[in-house]
């Protein structure tokens, strides 16, 4: 076991993937000489060379489209999008090519791309640097969407994503890059929990609280706070947003009868909408209350000084928990 930050764990995972398969190439803006603006690829160009860790021209469609061509040729491109809000110029190539080429070619052409996206807010950044665009991709057939939340998962999941023959949107909780944790760098990938499986990160009996990415930590804190208040929360780190591991989520909800979902993205059509709808479909008779969503507002990401009034935090999550429990809460007395 080594103690690594989440960022360093990703770096280590990328290094291992590069070493294991010479068809793995990293591509992106500033990822080579600089090592990426978050230094996630630090040292990798020096170690593997400029044809394995490629500084590209400033063009997201270009990166994505050439990665498609590389995949055609048998490569496994790992693309870095510098910040969440810069993925949209590459959207067409992702949605119309990356996601559809395996289907279009009737399985002949594989698109084993990994698209790394540092996502989410809470870092006081300028516009376009704090977004949570995961729902766009979860709605896109042909893609897999995952999000890591801690160093151990980051290390394993990035390798699993690269090893996957399907294209994977890999969301990294940028405000947790510096969080430290134990990572087993010797463990074999084969034994690791598949990235499609969710993790129950805190057990509980009263409410199921589902989240992913940076808010996993907040959700755990909420569970601890709630416990002091006599409420037992089961926290699930979803890890995979598409497909969702409903087996794990359902098992929990069937026991607790109550579901709270939290994410930074806006509510309208967010990942929480699908979760709430699917869980309601799958275990309606077990639900004691409607699933509650605690999300960012449906607004463009606000200026830094307002972001704490946008992002779900411990208090807002606990307010959601109160709501699902029918305890006094911010909406008490308001007709839903």
């Amino acid at each position: 076991m080594t103690t690594l930050t989440l960022g360093k764990a990703l770096n280590a995972g990328l290094r291992r993937a590069l070493a294991a398969d010479d068809k793995v190439v990293l591509m992106g803006e500033d990822i080579g000489t600089l090592g990426g603006v978050f230094r996630i690829t630090d040292g990798l160009k020096a170690e593997f060379g400029a044809n394995r860790v490629v500084d590209t021209p400033l063009s997201e469609a270009g990166i994505m489209g050439t990665a498609v061509g590389l995949a055609y040729r048998g490569f496994r491109p790992v693309v870095e999008i510098q910040f969440d809000g810069f993925i949209y110029p590459g959207f067409d190539q992702i949605v119309a090519q990356v996601a559809k080429l395996h289907y279009r070619s009737r399985g002949n052409v594989r698109m084993p791309l990994t698209i790394r996206v540092p996502f989410g807010g809470g870092i006081g950044a300028a516009e376009h640097h704090s977004e949570s665009p995961e729902a766009y991709f979860a709605h896109t057939a042909g893609l897999r969407v995952v999000a890591c939340s801690n160093p151990a998962d980051a290390y394993v999941m990035i390798q699993q994503a690269i090893a996957s023959d399907d294209p994977v949107l890999f969301f990294e909780p940028k405000r947790r890059y510096h969080v430290k944790g134990e990572v087993d760098e010797t463990a074999s990938l084969a034994d690791a929990k598949p990235m499609g499986v969710a993790s129950v990160v805190a057990s509980g009996t009263d409410v199921t609280l589902v989240t992913y990415g940076a808010l996993v930590q907040t959700a755990r804190d909420a569970a601890i706070a709630a416990a002091e208040d006599g409420v037992s929360i089961e926290v699930i780190d979803l890890r995979s947003l598409a497909p969702v591991d409903y087996a794990t989520v359902e098992a929990s909800v069937r026991r607790t009868g109550r579901l709270v979902i939290t994410h930074e993205a806006g509510q309208q059509g967010g990942v929480g909408a699908e979760l709430a709808a699917s869980v309601t479909e799958r275990c309606f008779e077990f639900l004691e209350a409607a699933p509650v969503r605690v999300t960012g507002h449906d607004i463009p990401y606000p200026p830094a000084k307002l972001e704490r009034h946008h992002l779900p935090d411990l208090d807002r999550i606990l307010d959601g928990v109160d709501r699902v429990l029918g305890r006094p809460n911010s909406l008490s007395g308001v007709e839903a």
Partner: protein, 382 residues
Amino acid sequence: MTPSDRDATGLLTKPDHFVQLITPAGERRADAEHDPWVADVDAAALGRLYRDMAIVRRLDAEATALQRQGELGLWPPLAGQEAAQIGSARALRDDDFVFTSYREHAVAWCRGVGPAELLTVWRGSASSGWNPYEHGMAVPQIIIGAQALHATGWAMGAAWEGTDAASVAYFGDGATSEGDVNEALVFAASFDAPVVFFCQNNQWAISEPVGLQSKQPLARRADGFGMPGIRVDGNDVLAVLAATRIALDRARRGGGPTFIEAVTYRLGPHTTADDPKRYRTDDELTEWGARDPLTRLLALLGTMGVDIEGLERDIADEAGRAAAELRAAVTTIPDPEPMTVFDHVYAEPNTHLARQRDHYARYLAMFDETDAAASGAAGGAR
């Protein structure tokens, strides 16, 4: 470039602004720079190029007819662009790879794509008709310009692997306005990628004349991106062959990308769904008819002493057989089984889709087996 370089319709077609080895009248023009590249192309070889062009023209007509008869959902005819496609594709090696849009049936012909393979996607029977790796050719691309980036990425990879294979990106004049094509030029130049950008300027993007996309000959776009641009008479198969060989040679030697503008003309509609009478004149058609790629090559072969009547007869026979094969092939394309709608979305198992698939299978199973086979699900049960 002055306004007088444009013809009446604003099209950029002044013939002396491009490489031309065979004039519309069928004369062989001497060209010290380009002749060496086609020194091996003797009368027999020219005859083979003619054969390619004549057969694909016949196949194209047959496919158009098949569409009119309801056997195909749609067909984008290539008529008029045979020289551009055959001249370029015949310059390729097997280990090269081409990324086309939707109109490159003659390229597919050169790459050995068979009749059923060719028609499958236009019949709507499957999302593609062939395995790209069997023919070194990607399946058709409908998103305008997207494939230019794919070709560039493929070429980057080929170079990184140390091979001397090259890729060709085929796209239209309209496509040059899309960001993707311009970004492909940027990447290709930056990485010295062994890719040929082959732009068929057929004067129109559906109803929009090329003058709306560019006020400059498209080949001039190349220089600013740091690569050579060649403007070639796209109705001259020999000139196209020469230009493509030059470009491929440069690519294979590590010289990076080349942009070729093949000046040609789409004689038919954009697709069988289009009505070109709404946007272009008969005069224009007549004008371009006089520049037909087949006529001029036949005339040249005549001056070279080839028995062109015999040649025409043989090729007509062969083309007739190929057309009959095409017609026969269309009905051999199997209608897809309902549940295949779920196949190949993912390469690996996917829990969500597996469940959806299972639900749909149960749904279909509700219907009477015979009904389902005859008419599919709709209306079966009720």
